[in-house]
Amino acid sequence: MRFLDNALRTQGAARLVPVKLNRREFLKATGAAAGGGLMLGFAFEATAQDAKKMVFPPSSFIRIAPDGTTTVMVNRLEFGQGVSTALPMLIAEELDCEWSKVRAELAPAAEVYADPGFGIQMTGGSTSVASSWKQYRVIGSSARAMLVAAAAQQWGVDASKLDTRNGFVIEPAGQKRRASYGSLAEAAAKLPLPTRVGLKADPADYFIIGRPTRRLDSQEKVNGSAQFGIDKTLPNMRVALLVHPPVFGGKVAAFDPTKARAVKGVEAVVQVPVDRGGTGVAIIARGYWPAKTARDALDIKWEAATGPTTADQLKIYREIALQPGLPARSDGDAAAMTQAAKRIEAVFEFPYLAHAPMEPLNAVIDLKADACTVWCGSQFQTIDQLAIATASGLKPEQVTLNTMQAGGGFGRRANPSSDYLVEGVNIAKAMKQAGIDAPVKIIWSREDDIRGGYYRPLFVHRVVAGLDAGNALRAWNHTIVGQSILKGTPFEKYLVKDGVDSSATEGVVDTPYRLPNLQVSVHHPEVNVPVLWWRSVGHSHTAFVMETMVDELARAAKQDPIAYRLALLDPKHTRVRGVLQLVRDKSSWTSPVPKGRGRGVAVHESFGSIVAHVVEVSVDKNTIRVHKVTSAIDCGFAVNPLTVEAQVQSAMVFGLSAALHGQITMKDGVVQQSNFADYPVLRLPEMPEISVHIVPSKADPSGVGEPGTPPIAPAVANAVFALTGKRLRKLPFDLAQA
């Protein structure tokens, strides 16, 4: 089936979950099955074979009201990326309904909403549109066929004589009758599913796919009525704040609740188990402010614990990088380096990074003896559902997880350990024990978020490029040092091979360049800092190394950076070539650089798509200012070009923010940053002018949310080099230290 193949072909998808996770294995891997046969009645063993046969009843995805209002269930989290507009567009196209009557609703955790390729319900790896490209169109087409069949029955005619137009079934010949979808919906829902439906084959026939289409969720988000997880309220609900240990996995030695308990509105101050085997103290109150006031007054003594100090960790990583690690790729002759006439050696450093979505983590949890209902913005609905079930001692089918809009996420809301939700259940249980029988909303403060771990791992890369006397590349030795994200998670068996975590090497081992005698190896040190995917995952560091090194090679060969890249590309990577050519043409690359500015380029493939940025920078007293960004993307067929443009801008800003400002550092395991004051992110005055250009393509859609992030930092570094002659190899950039 082409759809499945397509989903799996997408590199990003493959990276996140390459093989369909089967639910029983997940239960096992997460420990959910431990503690008896609770799950036996539930465990469902789906294979890729089953997925191919899986039928999606349109009734689970489409509701048509008598007035024609068409509600599309979105099987993903909407957190800015525009999926709650794109997926309804796919259905509307094949359903042939009126777009102004289409609404989107985020689906709760349920098997039917699992990604058909992956078997879990998730939003990640820039896969949503790519994975559902066929699925949602088939659902739309099936629903249309059922509406046509209902009209055919009512009119006593053959369905093949009928057509549809803009939300109506019409009879082109004969009595020329017409009936609205709204009037037919009830009868249509009772009809059997069509066994086979067609899809529009020619994009020229599309009326909405491929056209710039404004978001469906703008109105509710400009008037304050949109409901994010943090906005969910239940009668009698309490609010809880949790004090986490200062070192990951730390434990409470003692605490005095007296002062906290004395704050008006505070109802309980209790010790609870927290993530990574630690303990913390939860404050349960009538509202956030009493809880926060109590928390500030709370006196906790912690057991002695320690963790890494960043400067020392970097030093150790740099030493480790001198030794070859576990082989990730080995081409040609490993000894070729010894014959190199000269070498370019470079060490790169990348810090831990927090995701820092604007909406801090939160969830509303209504725990009862035989059921648990949760409202949250989850990127991992069915995984979180299982974790909540395990933590609350319930069966997964007793857990309802309602998907709320999320104020960003960038990977943080897709945690295999479901950390904040498990902690939330622990708090809900402690409340019951304290005699408070009420639902609870847990809210993380910004400080909790910045210090809460699950960071993009700290990485060190060491690259030695060997050149011959004519400055042609002859060998490339590359060592990567950083924690494994996937080890110890249910994804390990699919994505960690021979000890090598593919999320640390993506972007290097699959380079589109012909790098002779390429040797790549990896070290995965164990460090007591929880790590996680952060928008673009491994590409967030590998693209920087590859694209600044290639730039150095171009300079060494005294060649134009774009011309050099085009020559170095493996000819089979025609899409990378196309993107480079487009960005060159659109950025007036060959025109003189304005005085006082430097120009740089970078290109990178990730999540099945390719993005290149050309940037213009200036430097004033060691402060880098990015003035202009010209971007080109090949994401296959652009389902909603308006969203593609927005996501390239968005991903670029996310990467630029990290390049200029982002770093989490630790001293003895204690995170030194706390809020936006010391973990700054890009602000409006720093926003460059940006233009985004989309390569026209009829290929199936590929990722859009992440691919714009990886190439921005190297493009800026290359531009800074062009201007100042200084090579930036440590992020965030510090020209004074370079």
Binding site: V222, P290, E359, Q405, N675, L684
Partner: protein
């Protein structure tokens, strides 16, 4: 009991007078359009108007609120606020949307005090409003467009 006027309506809030306006709006009055982002006036997500001026409600105790409060829920009741909201929709500014209540309130305050803001005015007035989705390019375009429609 603290008396406030919110979006033209007199309300009473039964909370500690030190409670920030943000939490009085959200937890006591059930008005969740105003967002919590940082709690230290560093992100602008909680921006509301007090007496027509933009303030960070997360650090504004209700005891100090001396003028009428306008929140995102009341923004469309005003010609400028409505124009800004319309421009936001026209330019498809929104991504996750979480910061946009604050962005819209800050932009509205700017256009109320300056009919024809320069690019630098816009950058400066909105420099305290963070957006992690990076909607900044479209924010600039929408503010300029709103200014044009109001001229």
């Amino acid at each position: 009991m603290t008396r406030l006027t919110v979006n033209g309506k007199a309300v009473e809030v039964d909370a500690d007078p030190a409670t920030p306006l943000l939490w009085a709006l959200r937890d006591n009055l059930g008005m969740t359009g105003t967002k919590f982002g940082c709690g230290i006036a560093a992100c602008g997500a909680c921006t509301v108007h007090v007496g027509g001026q933009p303030v960070r409600s997360c650090v504004t105790p209700i005891s100090s609120v001396s003028g009428p409060v306008t929140t995102i829920e009341g923004a469309s009741g005003d010609r400028v606020g409505k124009a800004v909201q319309d421009a936001w929709i026209k330019h498809d500014v929104i991504q996750c949307g979480y910061c946009q209540s604050g962005q819209i309130m800050a932009a509205t305050a700017l256009l109320k005090s300056k009919k024809n803001p320069s690019e630098a005015d816009i950058d400066s007035a909105l420099s305290g409003n963070l957006c992690r989705c990076g909607t900044y390019a479209r924010i600039r375009a929408a503010v300029k467009d709103a200014a044009r429609t109001l001229a």
